[in-house]
């Protein structure tokens, strides 16, 4: 008889447990809903752009210079135009040249700086200052880099509103990202490989050139391509440097001090215009820009998967 009371001694408040379960479920629901916000926003953005661009993105759009007249962009009018359709050919070429030049500059500067910081730099105050400074530079708004390019390259160094000024400005903008990602790639090279090289009598420079760099280069390339894909979409810096809009001829790689146009700048011009039709033209430009971005990211991922021994 008395043993029965012993087993019921443990009071089990079932309603409290139920309440906790409900609370847990509600919280999980909230978290899932929050996660969906980001995904829905991404889908809405892509669908919006594609729907607006539908029917306006043609081969002519890719191969003809822009036009002031909105009717020139409409494929329905292509047949009876005196001047030829409107497009963004000079801006596509301009953006590609801009990125090629930026790639050359960042490859040299970014990898050089990363090699210094990872392989040579002593652990002292100067090194720590340089690293803290790089972290801070990564957080400087891109339009401030535009002001820097305007004052230093365009005005002080007299490059004018040119391709080279745009490329140098974009280089400084993405340099912090490239340095940090290159440092990570260099750090991932095992020390035993360096020691083996020293053991065979190699000097530091020989070791870096023949052992460390070949091992780290896929990772470095992935980081650089990802940084360049950020640079190609940047508008504010090249706007301050003075990227031209409505350029009828593409810039010349042989004349880097000439004027240049670029895709994001042209998209900005189109998006600002009040006519509804120009919204479709801007959307078509965005699809071209996003496609190039997608290709660059695909190349970066391919290089990583193909050469990275860790994946």
């Amino acid at each position: 008889m008395s043993t029965e009371t012993d087993t019921t001694d443990f009071e089990f408040d079932e309603s409290a447990v139920r309440r906790k379960r409900r609370l847990g479920k509600a919280f999980l629901g909230l978290c899932v809903a929050a996660t969906m916000v980001g995904i829905v926003a991404l889908v809405a953005l892509l669908v919006d752009v594609i729907v607006e661009a539908w029917g306006w993105l043609t081969w002519e759009f890719l191969t003809y210079p822009p036009s002031q007249v909105v009717e020139h962009y409409n494929p329905a009018n292509y047949g009876d135009l005196p001047t030829g359709p409107g497009g963004m050919y000079p801006m596509i070429v301009g953006s590609i040249y801009l990125i090629v030049m930026t790639a050359v500059f960042t490859l040299v500067l970014g990898v050089g700086a990363a090699i210094y910081l990872e392989e040579y730099a002593p652990d002292n105050t100067l090194t720590r200052f340089i690293e803290a400074n790089i972290t801070n530079l990564a957080g400087v708004p891109s339009i401030v880099y535009g002001l820097l390019g305007l004052a230093v390259f365009v005005r002080a160094l007299q490059t004018g509103q040119s391709l080279i000024a745009g490329a140098l400005t974009l280089t400084l903008l993405i340099l912090p990202i490239v340095i940090v990602s290159s440092q990570e790639s260099l750090r991932a090279v095992p020390d035993s490989m360096r020691q083996a090289s020293y053991g065979a009598g190699a000097t530091k420079w020989q070791t870096i050139r023949n052992v460390v760099l070949p091992e780290a280069i896929p990772g470095i390339m992935t980081g650089i391509i990802l940084a360049l894909s950020r640079a190609i979409g940047e508008t504010a810096p090249i706007l301050m440097v003075g990227a031209a809009t409505t350029m009828f001829a593409p810039p010349q790689l042989t004349d880097p001090t000439g004027p240049f146009g670029a895709m994001p700048m042209q998209i900005f011009e189109w998006a600002k215009l009040p006519e509804d039709e120009f919204q479709h033209v801007a959307a078509a430009g965005i699809v071209v820009l996003l496609t190039i971005l997608l290709l660059m990211n695909a190349v970066a991922i391919y290089i990583r998967n193909r050469y990275d021994p860790r994946s």
């Binding site: 957080g139 400087v140 340099l175 020293y198 504010a236 998209i267």
Partner: protein
């Protein structure tokens, strides 16, 4: 006799066997690293130099306390920066109100609830948002968000602060969710298991154990995201407009500091004009604000960091 040869130093790493090529390489690489320091110095010199010219014509008092920004009024130009700072503040606060709660809940879901398979798909998907150029967000605001706002609030203007704040909120969302998720994932499982052992539910573990334990990383993520919102340019220029005014109505047109810089930048203000100089005064104000936020973020991370082995 043969024993007094010096023992070989096997610890050296080749640094001291300097051929000429090695020395040159070392200096070349140092020069590359020094470019970053030179960049910071150049930014400061350029901004201060331009701002000095500006403040030789406009008093500090007028700039920092004036409530009227009309630099191009022909007869009586006025240079009170407060309307521009107010515009930036509206966008920043509005976007933080969206990105911080949504981003934190997303991070909790990804770190605590989602299966590895779901996380492997969802996390990179959200990071696509971070890779989309800001000009595209500006277009999205104009062609989608503003029309949606206009159907709910008929008084909404073509350019309005709310649309800008929403689109910047979406833009900085992956920054909050990704960095906060990294911080939460680095909390060791032993802490979670200890709480489960005491009878805690998953909700209690997430909110009472993981969240406080990763607070420094989460706060640092918030600050970085806010700093990004302050400096955001193209999306707010397209979405929020070019009318500097102090208003509490988010459905009205405003102008941020960055949008003003774009307005002058596209207008090709001539060197030496007050418009050109005001670029650098605004730029310096912007740089100081984001610099303080970035330093604050680094400080929070190191000051409140919990070290786990």
């Amino acid at each position: 006799m043969s024993t007094d040869t010096e023992p070989l130093d096997l610890s050296r790493d080749g640094n001291d066997v300097g051929t000429l090529g090695d020395t040159v390489a070392r200096y070349v690489f140092f020069a590359c690293a020094f470019v970053t320091v030179a960049t910071t110095l150049a930014i400061i010199v350029v901004l201060v130099d331009g701002a000095v010219d500006f403040f030789s014509q406009v008093s500090f008092v007028e700039y920092f306390t004036g409530t009227n920004w009309s630099p191009r009024a022909a007869d009586n130009p006025s240079f009170g920066v407060l309307p521009l700072i107010w515009g930036t503040l509206l966008i920043t606060v509005g976007s933080a109100l969206i990105a911080i709660p949504v981003g934190t809940l997303t991070a909790i879901y990804l770190s605590e609830y989602a299966s590895p398979r779901v996380r492997k798909v969802v996390k990179p998907t959200l990071e696509i948002l971070a890779g989309i150029p800001t000009i595209v967000y500006g277009f999205f605001a104009l062609s989608f968000i503003t029309p949606v706002l206009q159907t709910f609030f008929p008084g909404t203007g073509t350019f309005n602060a709310a649309s800008g704040a929403i689109v910047v909120g979406i833009m900085i969302l992956p920054m909050v969710s990704s960095l906060a998720e990294d911080a939460m994932s680095s909390v060791p499982d032993s802490l979670r298991n200890a709480a489960y052992g005491l009878g805690a539910t998953k909700f209690e573990v997430s909110t009472n154990v993981v969240l406080p334990a990763s607070l420094s990383g989460i706060l640092a993520a918030y600050i970085l995201a806010i700093s990004r919102a302050i400096g955001e340019t193209m999306a707010v220029t397209l979405a929020a407009g070019a009318l500097p005014q102090i208003t509490t109505n988010p459905l009205e047109e405003i102008q941020t500091m960055t949008a003003y810089m774009v307005e002058i930048g596209t207008g090709d203000a001539s060197v030496g004009s007050i418009g050109y100089q005001s670029l650098f005064a605004i730029g310096l104000t912007l740089f100081v604000m984001t610099f303080l936020m970035n330093v604050f973020s680094m400080w929070v991370r190191s000051r409140y960091r919990e070290e786990y082995q």
